[in-house]
Subunit: 493 residues, 2 copies
């Protein structure tokens, strides 16, 4: 028996303990391995997994600095293996995993606010190595701090290629069968590549919103039995759950999965809860009707809009309905393909982000410009062509400069208002108005007596911020007279 274990790990990094063990039979199904990690501040038991070629692995993310001891037990070990390691300072820029904070918002484990400005590239990691690198390079220069993508390959318009490998071991095909799998055995090569993608994203500060199941499938992965799915969920959670930037999305368009009923989803959520000691953020994404996001295992609402005309305009309604953070991760894509969900202007996509923001919620980007080479950011990654990302960077910079998250406030029927809440009875430190597709030449404002605010007029499309000076009492602000204007009032007295 051999064992490898890092002697030092940075806080929120990954300790990886590797033990040799049996290769015979089906180790994926027949053997199990578990690690318990102990520190003054936490005791955490993490499931391990079989990585092929006699390698058994337990991964662990430490949440504290200092000494940890571990204790590994396994079906093939006579007695537990113990040891210790040191957890050092977190690496520069690492703030830990993202959690729900203030009911409707998010923060990293160390308290740093996290404001999701996400994108979707369903199978970017399954493209060529060159495009894989290009996508990471594009992301690095982008506003995106979260990316939704699938574990499994995708079969859909513009998505007809085969992946470099498959998640499951091949089985013997029956006559006329295109694919056959042994769902009890995984291909570690496939998952190591997925981990590489997650790690690379983590290094860039990008959250990996992992879509565990999806219906766009010619391989048969959407038609596994529940117990096969649970076996796969256990394996996936054990393998990648220690990476601090992992979020669980049970499915994309769960309601299009051909044979699944609510009980199945609940069982799968149970599998995650049982095997994920970190309680990573967990959601389930719809096509038509929303899942019941009040279920206790749902940490935040990951929503596709249900109406062609009203998308993020309903975020405040959904906040009230579910009492959790709302991310409208599919509000349509900037692009020009044939499908109605994939041919928005950059202006409209940006507007939908601001409509979510001003209602105390969040949105997700995606891009689907027609390409006869079938390379669209939405699935493949590569490079961005659209006009919205620059504006989403402007939005993200605006949000990052605020002293706290935006909450819906005293809106008028024809502007939406949010504020960074102050204490009770106190005028808020920041008030924001957003004018959407309207084009007011001016608006009139009245501030609470005894307060003064610096007024700024924003053009969220032209990405300008114009200082209009200190205001008290009632005053008129001349705006841009163009669409997508906003006003930001920052308290100075």
């Amino acid at each position: 028996m051999s064992l490898t274990c890092l002697s030092t790990v940075p806080r929120y990094g990954v300790q990886e303990i590797i033990i040799s063990g049996p290769e015979g039979g089906n180790p994926f199904a027949d053997e199990h391995i578990t690690g318990t990690f102990t520190h003054d501040g936490e005791i955490l038991t993490a499931p391990g997994f079989y990585d092929g070629e006699g390698r058994y692995v337990v991964r662990f993310m430490p949440s504290f600095e200092g000494e940890y001891t571990y204790r590994i037990t396994a079906s093939f070990l006579g007695e537990a293996i113990t040891g210790s390691f040191t957890v050092t300072l977190a690496q520069a820029g690492v703030h830990g995993p993202v959690k729900v904070a203030d009911t409707f918002h998010f923060a990293y484990a160390d308290g740093t606010p996290y404001r999701p400005v996400g994108t979707t590239c369903y199978v970017w990691h399954l493209q060529t190595p060159k495009m894989f690198e290009k996508t990471l390079e594009t992301l690095k220069a982008s506003p995106f701090n979260k990316i939704r993508f699938c574990v499994f390959p995708k079969h859909y318009d513009y998505n007809h290629n085969e992946p470099f490998a498959y998640p499951f071991a091949a089985a013997e095909k029956a006559p006329g069968q295109d694919y056959a799998w042994d769902f009890s055995r995984f291909d570690p090569v496939y998952f190591r590549h997925l981990e590489c993608a997650i790690q690379r994203l983590g290094e860039m500060g990008v959250e990996a919103d992992i879509i565990m199941l999806h219906p766009y499938d010619r391989w048969g992965y959407s038609r596994m039995t529940l117990s096969q799915m649970q076996h796969y969920f256990r394996y996936l959670v054990s393998r990648i759950g220690a990476y601090r930037n992992v979020w669980w999305s049970l499915a994309n368009e769960y309601d299009l999965m051909p044979e699944m009923v609510t009980e199945d989803w609940e069982a799968l959520a149970g599998t995650i809860q049982q095997h994920d000691p970190y309680h990573r953020l967990t959601s389930i994404h719809n096509c038509f009707g929303f899942y019941d996001h009040t279920r206790p295992w749902v940490t935040h609402c990951c929503l596709q809009r249900q109406d062609l005309y009203r998308t993020t305009e309903l975020v405040d309604t959904w906040r009230k309905e579910f009492g959790k953070p709302v991310i409208v991760d599919e509000l349509g894509y900037e692009g020009n393909i044939q499908h109605g969900w994939g041919n928005l202007t950059g202006e409209e996509l940006t507007r939908r982000f601001w409509e979510a923001t001003i209602r105390g919620g969040y949105a997700g980007h995606g891009e689907t410009y027609f390409s006869d080479k079938e390379i669209l950011w939405w699935s493949h990654g590569d490079v961005l062509h659209g006009t919205s990302p620059a504006r989403l960077q402007f939005l993200r910079d605006f949000l990052d400069a605020l002293p706290g998250p935006l909450e819906p406030w005293k809106s008028n029927w024809d502007d939406r208002c949010a504020c960074v809440p102050g204490g009770e009875e106190e005028a808020p430190p920041v008030i924001v108005y957003y004018y959407s597709f309207m084009r007011p030449s001016f608006r009139d404002f009245t501030l609470p007596e005894g307060t003064a605010y610096r007024a700024e007029v924003l053009d969220t499309w032209e990405m300008t911020r114009t200082d209009c000076g200190i205001k008290e009492g009632s005053f008129r602000l001349w705006l841009t007279g163009r669409q997508y204007a906003a006003v930001c009032l920052t308290r100075v007295k």
Copy 2:
């Protein structure tokens, strides 16, 4: 006693019989005059009115050519006066009054289709004579075949001037009172000017959608008692009801009228029905909630949108709800004033027209560009500044070239479809798709077996129509890839 009567009147013109009578007392309230007009095809009794200075007038619109006899009775006449006149051919371009046709649409009395493309200029007729003429000139060069305007002057933002005259006789003011009226006496000068406006519009083929009451008022006209309002309604209907282009709109934003309840509106509708032998088109326009448009006296729905984001997208819903033609006469205005209803882009206003059209309904234009001179088309008329009117002309030309009205048909979730219905089991003669704010690069179509259609791609903003040739079976059309595209398929086999 003197009597004047035209010896010949064109069909759908106005016969005006004037009789001298008493000036003493209050002829507006104390006297009455009525005419009965008889022809092989119709017998019609029309109320007359007092026009001041001893002039009593009965107006009549003949619907048939040939000989008419008349019989005038009045409270001040010992016996009826009779006579006859000849009705000649309608003047060139005159098709008679507009009526509801095919449940959801309109046609002139002679069967010519009427497709409303209306605008709103609330008090254009109460501006200077120079601007009055300028407005008519602008209308003449515009796409608009209907205009909504008020009988009474308007008090609101950008509307603070006094009219050249007042509809009622002045009464003695109490101390501190700005205005005082004898609501039992009218000022014929005021109404003659209104009639001039209606006639001038009629000569241009523009329908006059007359707003009988409205809440934007500093003169007290919105606070008359019900019986005062009924007295005024009787007078107005008797005076202008004979003009073929008159439509009755009981009120603009009826639900903002300070002291009115449903029973009052029903009583006023009854007054119209009792005194209007022509059964002119009659509607009532909301601010918030719709009136009950299923009421039998409501001929068509004249609606203001209720939702900031969905306006004419709901036209098919409202058609089903009310079973009558739907005109969304206030869907927001093109402009840039401070109010959210008055600062749409020309693109958005035009899109809302097409959304109404593709759902088998109609829409109304309005324009509110900021003017420190307080001259805005929406109230004052004068000239148009916007980008939508040219596109509405394109829409009107498109509609006018169709062989019948558009009815909603087999829509997809991401395009709206309408057709000019054919017979049962028959493929329709024309099929139209509209893509709204979406930007499909192409769409795929399948035609019924055995049919062939000429395919055209429309850019409703750039106002282009591109012939793509004859198509059969399944085919792909490459579209503009820009917003506001449409497809028109015209059956050739």
